[in-house]
Amino acid sequence: MPFALRDPIRVDALLAEVVAPERGGTALFLGTVRRGPDDGPVVRIEYSAYPEMLEAEFTRIVSEAHARWPEARVTARHRLGDVPLGEASIAIAAAAPHRGDAFDACRYVIEEAKQRLPVWKREVLADGATVWRDNAGGRVMGGVPPGGG
């Protein structure tokens, strides 16, 4: 099952992949699209990716989580394309016999995903202008993006 999808993330389906009677605790994280800190009216937000690497990197991150928390079962999705404000761009579900492991595995995957997934976000404003955002909410400038120069 690919990690990337273009439709809304179905939380119930994600949970069903990991919840089981022998795993008593399930932690879910949803990252929700929000406005940048200095925006005018945003009409939509577009997520794009390096699709082959997105799948490869997500697979590695989930494998790392399974290696660290062997009893945990972890799954995740990233939405691409237009994502309306307030809808989830990423969802991670981790179930484990002990709730601490479920929380820790879920947290591990989101922290690594933020650092490593080749995904980009562009805000389309009401006047038609576009703004590329980095993960800290900053604007990605011309050819010398913050952190990239």
């Binding site: 990252g31 997520y47 794009s48 990716a49 390096y50 082959e52 690497m53 997105l54 490869a56 990197e57 590695r60 990233h78 761009s89 990423i90 989101i110 995903a113 933020k114 650092q115 490593r116 997934l117 080749p118 995904v119 980009w120 976000k121 562009r122 590329w132 955002r133 980095d134 993960n135 900053g138 990605v140 011309g142 050819g143 010398v144 993006p145 913050p146 952190g147 990239g148 120069g149």
Partner: protein, 84 residues
């Protein structure tokens, strides 16, 4: 004569800046990622607007700029990430 050929992919803001999503680079046999970036910035119109040390991946994995390249590798320049 070039000893290795690398497919270089550009994404998001970087593709927008240079107006291309893909560039083929011919490099000497001992080239590392930093050499490929330097060549790309000279070879492509507006390439000098790209950062000198962008985040990079080779064959779908993050690598350092000191990583050796091999013939047929896929190099990618990754603008600041915004996933999650």
């Amino acid at each position: 004569m070039a000893a290795l050929r690398v497919r270089c992919r550009l994404f998001a803001r970087y593709a927008e800046v240079v107006g291309r999503e893909e560039v083929v680079l011919d490099l000497p046999a001992d080239a590392v990622v930093a050499d490929a970036i330097a060549l790309l910035r000279r070879q492509v119109p507006r390439g000098d607007v790209l950062p000198e040390r962008p985040l990079v991946a080779v064959n779908l994995a993050h690598v350092l700029h000191t990583e050796r390249l091999r013939d047929g590798d896929e190099l990618a320049l990754l603008p600041p990430l915004a996933g999650g």
